[in-house]
Symmetry: D2
């Protein structure tokens, strides 16, 4: 991912150095397992650890010659190990190392994402609480529907994040698998006990069955889930972009003192962060396609997934984390114009109360069908004017109609507390 | 595609009967070619044509037994041909028939689409002309930018369609290829001359080189192009959805007398057609992924593309045609509220003229940087009030500033005619 | 989906009639809830049920006039209800009905899929058991790696299906949500208790929070998961396609007595079913893209997801079920050529035992690096000849090398039982 | 894109420095246009050029403060320009600069790609020529079909590249557009003549109509085409991967002296380059999804496409170029085993001649249907044995059948020259 969108913590996780250090952890855990099983001398792994060399430059040089990254790694790592080298990578195939380490990296990235998600959720729930009773117009099809509360809107975002978090926690479990099962997954040169012990040390479960690699539906599932999650981010971003539209202007994403919106038009304050979130979501959707295509590897594995994963796994996790950073910044600084919300509610002179009027007419004895036609007809008149209002139009047709309190927004919020209660959060 | 979204003309083109009839055309053209080359007796093709039986029911029955659609077709088609049968499908492999016929079907569908596209473009250009000088606010990032004309907006739609049409015409040429080159594309049992003659009769060019099939990058290119095109439709639909938003309400897609927007809210008039176009665009994007994956067939072909194409080629062409029908209906009935457009231009009390003010300050001698900061500062005040206007705020700071005509929209339209002239259309 | 790929049971679930009948169920459950809450007279729902009319033809006629399917449904359903009609669809918005019913349909389809998945898994595990100890060559990068057992290969398929099933069960839970929360999700005209009671009656949980609709990340998650699952099917299909290649010919998908592989080449027996599974997987990947794009609906909902879901939800579930039918047929009739497997193991004259030879040389005291270079050099000679064999070549260089039992496949299977035990299945 | 897959030339094109230098070119061309139109003093652009400062570090620092890259660019670029600064970026909106420069960058990348494509095509056509008459088995469904020549196979690759090149040349034309039309595309503050002159200087055509930006269907079209093209590369790569499978072993991608295929198995020579091409193709397919979603920007533009394009345009063009480098390397070093090809032709003891036998039986007077059944029945026997051969089996049933020359591969190559002639290449 380009630097512009790469938070430091993700750059670190996916650096070459971190990769080599995860590889080393796998190799050493295997050694420790051998020791526990008394298959190699006690203390081997500790000494190997001390003597291991992780010179990234050197590894890349060797890789260029042998055309194989793990072989280069083993060669360099063991270069000063002397006798210990015999027990390093013993009985292993490259993918035992690479795949287990990849899971470790993903788990690490996921933990970091989950933590940031918690922060964001914390801000969002507070935002929801703050505007719990702030009336705002609900819109369907982009058209005013009925009033609701801005807090509820934000609570929907919170719920979106909550679902995202739950999914990601499931995915973290699913991806927490390692494999130390050899060249074709049958433990020909390494006993299953080693896998069990080594994986446990690495914080992974042994993959129930593997080929040369961990089956790729697991990784595709993970990246697809990131695409679902970033679709949720996009939903939030899209809402804010809409609410910041000039004609609506109910909320604004933060705009710093020194910031400039346009090189040509000094008046511009644009929701560029939310637009960026939208773009990022498109990218992650794209990555999910590539991840899904990786599933059907040939036979006991082919390496076509590798190039894909070198790019999209860092890129997708990085972009998710970066999105969360942006979301946190937005939510912390979101400007909410409650006055504009109220103004917009009454923008259409009563139209949005059409259902309540309809139901009242039905209660008063009119058939639903007739009431519908009546209210619809009156509504169309109001739409086409800039002065008429709906209650008056109804009263013209049904003089007995009681308009008292018909434009009140309070009834629309009567269940707000009940909905909030479903989210057991301690603020 | 479900009936709901399948115009009759596309249902017809992609019906089983039409498919069989295209297959028969290919078989007969090959026979005619053989005759021309004096490889089979004169008159064979005519008699074969007369005796050919195209009983779709029967074909499906045979197919169930033999598990091969072309073999079933040949069997039924020749069932009453007697001696002629020997020369039917002679030297051919199934794909010679299926693939050439598929190209014919796509070309047929494309022609129908292009014709409908012409109708739509005709309506759109008239719409553009009608509102050529109607001022409207241009929006970037959803935020008011500077005035433009509604006609220009629509002319952008026209240009989108024009590009779509050009692309589709290129694709029509690219897909107009047939292949009669045998089981692995080397003409082992059929001379290249037959391909040349038969293809010409079918309105196709012989594929320059083929395997058992026409290479699938050609089909992927076609479907990808449909995805690009329907992305353009989505762009138009998205614009209308935005302009129909309650706070904006500058245009409305047609809403018929008897139509109802919501079962609950009688006041609703929703841009459901434009929303449907948006959804359709998503589907076609999805199909393009499947089409792209079809390219890398194994060796001289595998049949994995076939199931995909049975679905997505009818589905994508049908949805493109259906989208055009919707677009035509929308454009024919689009309600345009010029008064609302004018009102929205002045909604922000002069803010949108910030660039002109900036340039004027620069002309008057201020540095660009200082002018920017000044106008930006004043603009932020105006944004945050509901009363202040930008020219007055500027004047407060620069008393010498001449505000005459500064809020005039005409200058923004001065090049409208020049832009229209680029579209040489006879209205 | 085209008839060709639509099993009857899925056609039934997604028929217009079934849809209307699910809609009716939702409406009646809401009525029953009202009754329980004593908000409408006892017995209303029963009488409404008796008088409800579900004439699909009529509904489509009305829909054409009003441009709204639920309104048409309500109109026709209540047409003979007389007074009861007042309590039908009372306080509901269309999406309360449509969305809850959609969940019901998906749950229904998922159950059917899960049941079929069980059948397939049952066949697959038996297949795995049958060939538990059948030696076969494991291949990585398409190149012979080391021996394994065919049973293990099939057990990997079983595990793929097992993961698919687990995922789908999670998805079934996630999608088992209904919403009866009104036009913008705030229960303005219907108390939350109704939602709770009605959903329970329908076998759904109430959506924790909703807008006008159930949030679409839930549906996207579902379809994405189908894409992951069908990627797993593709993996299995790809393996069989490879194993059926002429040079390999270790397994063959069923080929019926009367079947024909090619209209031109009578000798052909092609893995067309597995190729079809591959194509289907491509389609479902495409659908997942469309589903993911549906998440970011505008505000409290826009209807752009609707057209997409009318197509891809039936299409994707149908294709998954159809794939399972194909898989079941294949697995039931899979021809396994154990002799060919054994022959292929020794095709490369000992090359595939290179790791064991390497490890043995290391055990005998050679450094890993030197042993690697030695074995690699010898291997390259063997690759380039059609006569030489690896053990002999090694012996030429290291006369003390003991080749006894070095070509034995048994050691490669020593952990097979242990792996099988992880799959606690009662056969 | 990660360094591993980024050729130097593409790194250079997409570096920040190159971007700034393209931006400067656009700004200066606009100045020159103003000069030509006598709107600013002669010599302004030359002096501005001399005084322009392109300190990337400084720009990034300013950008962090103002949150806008072009504003930062203008600020830094003009920091030492004194009076000239007034005419720099005059009347422009950021997108005038960014979008025109983006087109320039894409055109530049495309030229480099096209040149490399020529090199690859040159190697491929030579390869095709070299093996023009080398018999090899054609495979459909992975199953032996009929003989063809390896040269023809390679010529199909050449044709794939030729189509790719033609498409890319069309795309180069389509993307060669600039826009200098101001904030909403109506030339409010800059006359269309400036656009015309400046674009010409930049080697671009003025976009026929624009909003704030060049319409994004053009970019989506470009990236989609890259996806089609890389699908073609994947097809070639897939073929080689298949042909290098151990059982087939007809070709091998280059394997250097020092290269190692596996850390565990010294005998391995894997087609890792072709597998990498396959993975890359998956990535570019993913990018095409993101690009297609960029089309439907809001109103006169929103910036959601920007983040996407910052990543996928460099990434996709870089990967295409890198793929071509790999292809060139493979084609230059491809090992072709003609003896294995011949051996594989006869692997099935005559089965692959089934069509010729069928046609001969028909010629001899048998009905096609009967001949088919006879040959099929015999073929199945041969498949199931490891000894029987097809001609003998036929002869058993039809003693008069003349088997002379029936197993000759020459007839399958009789039209090879004619096909080659269609590719007018001077080797």
């Amino acid at each position: 991912m380009i630097d512009r969108y790469t938070p430091k913590i993700m750059k670190e996780i996916w650096s070459e150095n971190s990769k080599y250090s995860r590889w080393l952890k796998v190799e050493l855990s295997v050694m420790e397992a051998y020791e526990e099983l008394r298959m190699i001398p006690d203390g081997t792994s500790i000494r190997a650890h001390q003597l291991a060399s992780l010179d990234a430059k050197e590894m890349q040089k060797v890789e260029e010659a042998v055309g194989h990254d793990v072989i280069a790694f083993v060669k360099v790592a063991t270069s000063k190990m002397g006798d210990m080298a015999r027990f390093f990578h013993y009985g292993l195939t490259s993918s035992d190392v690479v795949d287990s380490a990849l899971s470790m990296g993903i788990v690490e990235a996921t933990k970091v994402i989950l933590k940031k998600m918690d922060s964001v959720m914390n801000v969002v729930i507070q935002l929801a609480q703050r505007y719990r009773y702030t009336p705002t117009i609900g819109r369907t099809h982009g058209v005013h529907a009925e009033p609701t509360s801005f807090g509820l809107k934000v609570l929907n975002w919170y719920a979106e994040l909550e679902r995202a978090k739950k999914r990601l926690m499931v995915e973290k479990e699913r991806i927490s698998v390692g494999k130390i099962s050899g060249a074709v997954g049958n433990y020909a040169n390494i006993p299953p006990e080693v896998e069990k012990i080594a994986c446990t040390k690495l914080g992974l479960k042994p993959c129930k069955i593997s080929t040369q690699v961990i089956p790729r539906d697991i990784h595709a599932d993970y990246v697809s889930t990131l695409a679902v999650i970033s679709g949720g981010f996009e939903r939030i971003a899209t809402e804010i972009r809409h609410l910041q539209k000039t004609e609506v202007r109910e909320v604004e994403e933060p705009f710093s003192e020194k910031q400039r919106g346009s090189s040509a038009m000094p008046h511009k304050k644009n929701p560029i962060l939310c637009e960026r979130l939208t773009g990022i979501s498109r990218m992650i959707r794209g990555y999910s396609v590539s991840a899904l295509e990786d599933i059907a590897l040939w036979h006991e594995r082919d390496v076509s997934h590798s190039s894909v994963e070198r790019v999209i796994i860092p890129d997708s996790t990085t972009l998710i984390y970066y999105s969360l950073e942006i979301l946190e910044y937005i939510m912390n600084g979101l400007k909410v114009h409650e006055d504009r919300m109220m103004k917009n509610i009454y923008l259409t002179r009563g139209l949005i109360f059409s259902q309540r009027i309809l139901l009242k007419l039905v209660e008063d004895g009119m058939s639903r069908e007739n009431a519908y036609l009546l209210v619809q007809r009156a509504s169309m008149k109001v739409w086409n004017s800039e002065i008429l209002d709906l209650p008056t139009e109804i009263k013209k047709e049904v003089p007995s109609f009681n308009v008292d309190g018909i434009l009140d927004v309070k009834p629309y919020l009567k269940h707000v507390d009940e909905i909030f209660e479903r989210f057991e959060v301690k603020v």
